[in-house]
Symmetry: C2
Subunit: 314 residues, 2 copies
């Protein structure tokens, strides 16, 4: 089987994960979480979101959190760099107001969040896709002018809870628009965990032709257990960047009992067993997952954290 030698893991637990959890973690705990991720070798961390805490209480304090972590990244203590020195930090920004906060924090990268489903765009961000792109164009332009880089999320790429099927041509076109706008990478979201490997290969190939593999990441939710199979399907067509969330933090607002984001440690377990490098330390990830679980007040969905590593292997 042809698989890449190495893949990039983009950790989204602190943002996409936590914002969908009932339990709200304070800033200090989130910083401790970020430190543990960096110590485990994670090189890309989305730290929070510059959104109103009225709407998303889980992201309250993102200004403080991002500013502090950025400061840690820049600082030397006793002549030594912190664990964040080589980590690319980012934060979600919904609008120009949020961008002001991001600029103040000094974060080097922002993310914007568009949808491939018209119905979801209206429900989630209260505007049409077209209107959202107009808004984001301004955000991206200002961010680039401030020397920040921009990641674009595209949600509901494999199906929508309101619209049902989502046109693959539309997904490709929107991804291209986000890239043209100045994003350097598009995260292709299976936001409600409905994708299957055949669909992933079909849409993934179309996106790879349009964007190039280095300008895309796959963002799978494990709502119906297919996330690792979908990652395998992506690897088989040469995609090498994946979003994941430590412990499987996150949920699915459209299926309250269900699992959300795929767990970082489950992804890394499968990849390492397959001989694919990630640069991450799996035991540290599992330890962090177990450290985090009591703070979240629920059993986190990661299967590897629950089962532990086998006493083997290769």
């Amino acid at each position: 089987m042809k698989t890449p030698n190495r893949v990039r893991i983009i950790e989204v637990g602190l943002r996409d994960g936590l914002q969908n959890e009932k339990t709200v973690l304070d800033v200090e705990t989130r910083i401790a979480f970020a430190k543990r991720l960096a110590q485990a070798g994670v090189k890309e961390i989305e730290l929070g979101a510059f959104v109103s805490p009225q709407w998303v209480p889980q992201m309250a304090g993102s200004q403080e959190l991002v500013s502090k972590v950025v400061a840690l990244k820049r600082e030397k203590v006793d002549g030594k760099h912190s664990e964040f020195k080589t980590v690319r930090l980012s934060a979600l920004v919904p609008n120009t107001k949020g961008l002001e906060g991001a600029k103040q924090s000094g974060v080097e990268r922002i993310a914007i969040f568009a949808s491939a489903s018209e119905a979801f765009s209206k429900k989630n961000i209260n505007c049409t896709i077209k209107e959202s792109l107009v808004r984001y164009r301004e955000v991206v332009e200002q961010a680039l002018a401030a020397k920040m880089s921009v990641r674009g999320y595209l949600s509901m790429c494999f199906g929508c809870p309101f619209e049902g099927k989502v046109s693959e041509a539309k997904v490709v076109k929107l991804a291209e628009k986000l890239l043209d706008m100045g994003c350097d990478e598009i995260s292709i979201g299976d936001t409600i965990g409905v994708a299957d490997p055949v669909q992933v290969k079909r849409l993934g190939k179309a996106l790879k032709s349009a964007l190039g593999k280095d300008a895309m990441a796959m963002h799978f939710h494990d709502t119906r257990g297919t996330a690792l199979a979908n990652i395998l399907a992506s690897l088989e067509i040469g995609i090498t960047s994946f979003d994941s969330s430590l412990g499987g933090l996150g949920g699915c607002p459209y299926a309250p009992a269900a699992t959300g984001n795929v767990a970082t440690e489950d992804v890394v377990y499968m990849l390492h067993r397959m001989g694919v490098k990630t640069g991450l330390d799996l035991e540290s990830l599992i330890e962090t997952s177990r450290w985090l679980q009591p703070k979240m007040g629920r059993e986190l969905p990661s299967k590897v954290a629950r089962a532990g590593l086998p006493r083997i292997i290769s």
Copy 2:
């Protein structure tokens, strides 16, 4: 992607699933469970095990259960056949004593349980692999003489909690031996859920060359979340038979908190979404999983039963 048009699902929840659960279900509940499976279109059901209830209390009453279901299969009520008419029924048989029970029940197919790991064979069935094969040869001969067919399980094919790595050459050789002995199918077990897709393709191809695809089934546990990815890998090399357990019934005695067998409804969800036929009715399976869950006194691991079907799709 080349995938088969249709696959066989062998339901092992009533045996491999239940025997690893803490909760013991009575015979009537297990018969009701089997009926629901048959009504959902399941064509192969392992009903129980002819083992001592002292050792495996969960399998107590297998004699009565299997006899009753066999009778239902043969009977007509008001001129109508039961839901079991076209279902192949089987039961696990550890030795010639168990075989006597199986004969009395009238079941058409038995299964024997060998291991690819010497250490596990000793711990699990208290004899070496060689000794187990001598014992099973006698069981298989007598079963064939009684016009029963025989399935062979081979456990720990991808790794063992005691030995670590298991030689792939040894797995192939043992599978061939079981076939030569008179088994018509070997179920290749990832008993502790450690397999990865690369390993599955490598060992799967070797087994397919040695046995032929119609004489093998893959038996994955989802202990570390990789079962559906491993099924995808198997499909991609042309394997078309899979064991699964409704709801994900079962566990892993070597990782008590962990998930066991892959859930039938999760497998069927992925396959149907991929366009692969199973002949099973997914909604009925989910309904049965939800019917079963309160009886088991724990949340069953199936993700599809928890999330439900998406409001979509193809």
